[in-house]
Every structure is written in C-alpha cells, then in structure tokens.
Amino acid sequence: MNTYGVIARFDTPVALVHAAEKVRDAGFKDFDCHSPFPIHGMDDAMGLKRSKLGYVIGVMGLTGALFGFGLQTWIHSIEYPMNISGKPFFAYPAYAIITFELMVLFSAFGAVFGMMYFNSIPRFHHPVFYSDKFSRVTSDAFYVSIEISDPKYNEEEVKSFLEKMGGTDIEVLKDEN
C-alpha cells in the first residue's frame, strides 16, 4: 500500500482561504485547495504566480492572424493570381475579415488546449480520487490536499497541522493494493 498525501475538509470558502494562507505560510509547496467553484482571492492565499496561459494565447492569436493574412496573400498573389471582377491581386483590405477570424480561432484553441496543458488534463487517475468522501468537492465540500512529494511532508505532523486549523474528515490517501 502506497501513501500519497493527506486531505482535510473545511466547511466554507472562507475557512478554505484561511487554511490556504496557513499552509502557504508554513512553507508547503505541493498542496492544493479544492472547491466546487473558483474562489476569489485564492491565488494570493496559496501564493500562486500569475498563470502563463495569457502568453500562449497571445502567441497563438498572432500566429493565426499571420497565417490568415499570409494564406490569402499567397493564394491570390503567388499561387494562382486570377482576375476576378477587376479586383487587385493583393486586395489587403478584403483580407481583414479572414485574418481576424483565424486570429480568434487560433486564440480559442490556444486558450482551451493551453488550459488543458497547464492543468495536465486529461488525467483520469489522481491520488485524491482514492478518497470516497472527496467526491463531494464538486458539490459542496472544500478540501486542502498536501502531497507526499513536498519536502516538508511528515504524515503525523501534517495531520495535526490540518486538524489544528479546523480541518475535519482528515484522511491519508492510500491506494487499494
């Protein structure tokens, strides 16, 4: 049987934020705060840095715009210049719309797939799922999890630490075999 970490339940978003601040101040790094909805101010409470996703989306958007404009220019100026109702081959004002649409399309791909990359999902197995009670976290429960990979991890200390700050249903995450 392997151990993966400790989880503790809190009753309200406020309690979870306070718990996160204490865990952060105690110097833990590999911990997470689980909630049914995003909680305002939690990033600061956990001491998280700003998400880098914005840069990914920016680069993708720029790529989309350049690709869109380049594709149209290449088609009508280089690959097959064709006179259609006397319109110029390099009719750049007419290219604005498809350039814009492809910029939006690529940014959206960047946002969604970038989010999946940073969140490492899809990932169907995670130690927190070994707890049966944890399943309430997507409905009305608020959990702190501290993982074994943290250098400060010590099972007994972490358990009493979480209990002292008001955590209930404290569980050690263990797999079945």
Binding site: P36, F37, P38, M42, S51, L53, Q72, I97, V112
Partner: protein, 462 residues
C-alpha cells in the same frame, strides 16, 4: 453586532436571483437532479417524439434535394436567394444570444447570466448547426462543398478570398468552433460533478471521460478561469463580427435596398433580439417542465425582456433610418425599393415585421408585462416570427423588383422550401432535448457564485 444588520448588496441580489433558502448542496441537487433522474417527464417524451418526426421530414427533404437539385425550391430569376438564405440568416441570428450572454455579460460581471448561460450556449450550438445546413445544401452539388475550404488540389483551384461569401464561411465556421469550445470548457466542472454523483459505473465512466479528470483544485481553477475569461474576451468581437460579415453578403452587392452601410450594426442588433427571444421561449418551457422556477426566476426573464426592448428599439431605428436615407439619397431605385417593401405586393411581410419587431417589444417598458409569463411566451415567439419576416423582406422583396421592370417577378416557395425549414426545427429540438436530458441545463459551478457565501470577502466587516 446587530442581528438585523443592513443587508449587503450581494445578499439582496442573491435573494432576487436565487430566492428561498438555497445553499451549495441544494443547488447541486436541483440542477444535477434533472439529468440524474430515472424518470423522464412525459412532456419530454412528447416533445422528443415530435422533434424526431420533424427530423425525419428534414432527412427526407434534404435527401430529395441532393438527389434532384435545387430546382425543387421556389427560387427563380430574379429571386435566386429564397428561403435557404432567409433560414440561414435567421438561425445564425438566433445563435447570437448564446455567446452574447456567456461572453459579453461575463465581461460586464452580470451575475444573473449564470442561470441561463449554459442554456443559451447550447441553443447557439444547435442553431448554428441548423444555419450551416443551408449554405451546405444550397450550393446544389453538395458533394463538392469542401471547395469552400482552402485545400491544395490538383486543379490549382482556390476559394476567392475577396468574396464576402467566403468571409461568411470562415466567420460562421469559426463562430461554431469557438462556441463549441466555450460551451465545453464551461461544462468541464459540471461534468465532474455528475461523475462524482453517478450511481452506475457506466455513467461514471462516460461523464468521467468528458470531465477529463477535473478535481476542482485551485491550481486548475487558476488556469481555467483565465482561459474562460480570454474565451469571453475573444468571443465578444467574434459575435459582433459574425452577423456583420453575414450582412456584408448583402451590403457589398449593388442591389438597391442591400447596398447600405447600416447593415452590420442593424443585423447584429436584430440577431441579439431574436436570440433572446429564443432563449426566452426555451427557458419558459424548461423551467415549467423541470420546476426550476427558483433558479431561472422572474428576475431573469425581466432582464431578458429589457434587452429585447433595447435591441427591438435599435432594429426599429434601423428600419426608419433605411427609409430616411432612401429618400434623402435622392436615388430613384433606392426610394422605390423601400416604397415597394411597405406598399408593394409583399406589403404583408413588411408590416408583419414592423408589428413583431417594433410594436410588440414596446410593452416591455412596463414591468407588469416583463413579468407576465404567458405574455412573455407569446411575445418571444412573435419576436422570432418577426425576425424571420425581416429576412424575408430583405431577401425576397428586395430581389423580386430591382432596376428594370422587365426583370421583375413574384416568388413562390414550394413544399420543399417549407419542409426543409420545418425540418431544421427537428434537428434543433432533437439536439436540445437530448442536452436537457443528459447534461445540466444550468451551470452548477457558476450558479453557486451568485450566493454571497461563495465570496470569502463577504461579511468581513467585523
């Protein structure tokens, strides 16, 4: 501290939007309870059977169209754009409310949207699918519809990127893809809720697969929220661009009545107007069938009616401005096109449009009509009838009489025009009803954000 302290703004708002004693648990139970329940309401089965029969009509008519060609439609010379284009513009227009509600109202932090955004986004998806059917089939030889795409081929043949018709293809295609991504991203936390509550192994596996292993950690929410915000940010100009591009199909031509610069904003306002009409129709039915009156409240319906009043007035302004400019331009053809709309052989189409889009929403100045459910239901249907006639006016009445009286003709739809239009309702409602049955129709995670206790800064005065 005083027991009956003055209520904070957040509490007052929450009471209106989520009346009664609701907490995180009851919200989950109420919303997730619908797709989880073993018993499907009898009304659902009746509607689903009806939708499937319409879908059969759709499949039969489109099949015959592909076999026989577009000659089975009533299109002629000069009305070479008939119901197919009317229906395309109509469905795309309806699809606009979804993204408007989810994106623009999200950016403006309008929390009341949280009860209807999932609903509206789903409506958008199926409405855009219905819309995409028409450009797909109206090209006649649909087996070469992939020629829309810029694919390298042995003929060296490319789409004409300088044509509004290809802009339109890119705009609607992008709109569909982005709406799908937006919808699915919003759905991930809710799918995790359904996974965690699933009673059977199969359900847990299916919902779990699509939930992608979501575990609600803030390290996930952090990126998730940014992705959602950016999607909202890029969808906002996108939704405004889509109907503007659709309008350029008309506005870049030289036909009197089409060649105007007012078209893009006028089309966008009309699209939002009709989209809210459709959201209203569907949410009134769903809250009744599923007893969700405490989640989709009168407050929500009231706010939607206000947006319909606003956009209805914008559309009304556009109608009068078109007339003014036609007269002020001093152009005989332009003036004739508009007089012909109001007094020509299709006068009834024009006045049906004016009645439904300009007269009817004026009732929404009064609160009692904005909160009168049967009235709202009838109005919301009238709105979409009116918007259908608007596109009829633009497409058919404009084309049937242009410059030379020798080229004038009347337009008569055939049974296949009607059956394909009615058939798309089958496509729309089949998809929508399956959504209602298997997925949470209100965003569970976001509905909770309306409760004051979801904000950790709430009640921090002491």
């Amino acid at each position: 501290m005083l027991e009956n302290k003055i209520k904070s703004k957040a509490e007052i708002r929450a009471e209106k939007l989520l009346p009664g004693n609701q907490n995180f648990t009851t919200i989950t139970d109420d919303i997730a309870g619908v797709p989880e329940s073993k018993k499907t309401p009898i009304q659902w089965w009746l509607l689903f059977g009806f939708a499937l029969s319409l879908l059969a009509i759709f499949a039969g008519s489109v099949g015959f169209l592909i076999w026989e060609g577009t000659g089975i439609w009533g299109i002629n010379n000069p009305v070479f754009w008939g119901w197919a284009i009317i229906n395309f513009v109509w469905w795309v227009g309806i699809g606009h409310a979804g993204t408007l509600i989810s994106a623009i109202l999200h950016l403006f932090r309008q929390n009341w949207r949280n009860a209807i955004n999932r609903f509206a986004e789903t409506m958008t998806l199926f409405a855009v699918i219905c819309a995409l059917v028409f450009p797909g089939i109206h090209v006649g030889r649909i087996w070469v519809a992939y020629w829309f795409l810029p694919i390298p081929n042995q003929m060296g043949m490319w789409p004409n990127m300088r044509s509004p018709l290809i802009w339109d293809f890119f705009a609607v295609f992008t709109y569909f893809t982005v709406s799908l991504l937006f919808w699915y991203t919003g759905l991930i936390p809710d799918l995790a809720t359904l996974r965690d509550r699933a009673k059977t192994n199969l359900k847990r596996k299916i919902y779990g697969f699509f939930a992608l292993g979501w575990r609600g950690g803030n390290r996930q929410w952090q990126h998730y929220e940014l992705a959602y915000l950016v999607l909202a940010g890029i969808s906002t100009p996108l939704v405004l661009s889509v109907h503007s591009v659709v309008s350029s199909d008309f506005a870049t031509s030289i036909i009197p009545g089409w060649h105007t610069t007012i078209f893009p904003p006028y089309f966008v306002a009309g699209a939002i107007y009709s989209g809210f009409g459709m959201v209203m129709t569907l949410s009134i039915i769903a809250r009744k069938v599923y007893n969700l009156g405490h989640i989709i409240t009168l407050e929500h319906l009231d706010k939607m009616a206000q947006i319909m009043l606003l956009t209805g007035c914008m559309v009304g302004y556009a109608y009068s401005m078109e007339f003014f400019v036609a007269w002020y331009s001093g152009n005989a053809y332009e003036s004739f096109a508009f007089v012909n709309r109001a007094l020509g052989p299709y006068w009834w189409g024009y006045w049906a449009m004016i009645f439904c889009n300009v007269v009817v929403p004026q009732f929404f100045w009064f609160e009692r009509y904005r909160r009168h459910i049967p009235f709202l239901f009838i109005t919301s249907i009238l709105v979409n009838i009116g918007m259908w006639f608007e596109r009829f006016v633009i497409v058919v009445i404009t084309l049937h009489r242009d410059f030379m009286p020798g080229a004038w003709a009347m337009y008569n739809p055939t049974i296949f025009d009607v059956s394909i239009y009615i058939g798309t309702f089958g496509l729309f409602f089949t998809g929508f009803l399956l959504f209602l049955r298997f997925l949470p129709m209100v965003s569970i995670a976001e509905a909770k954000l309306v409760l004051p206790e979801s904000n950790p800064h709430h009640g921090h005065e002491e």
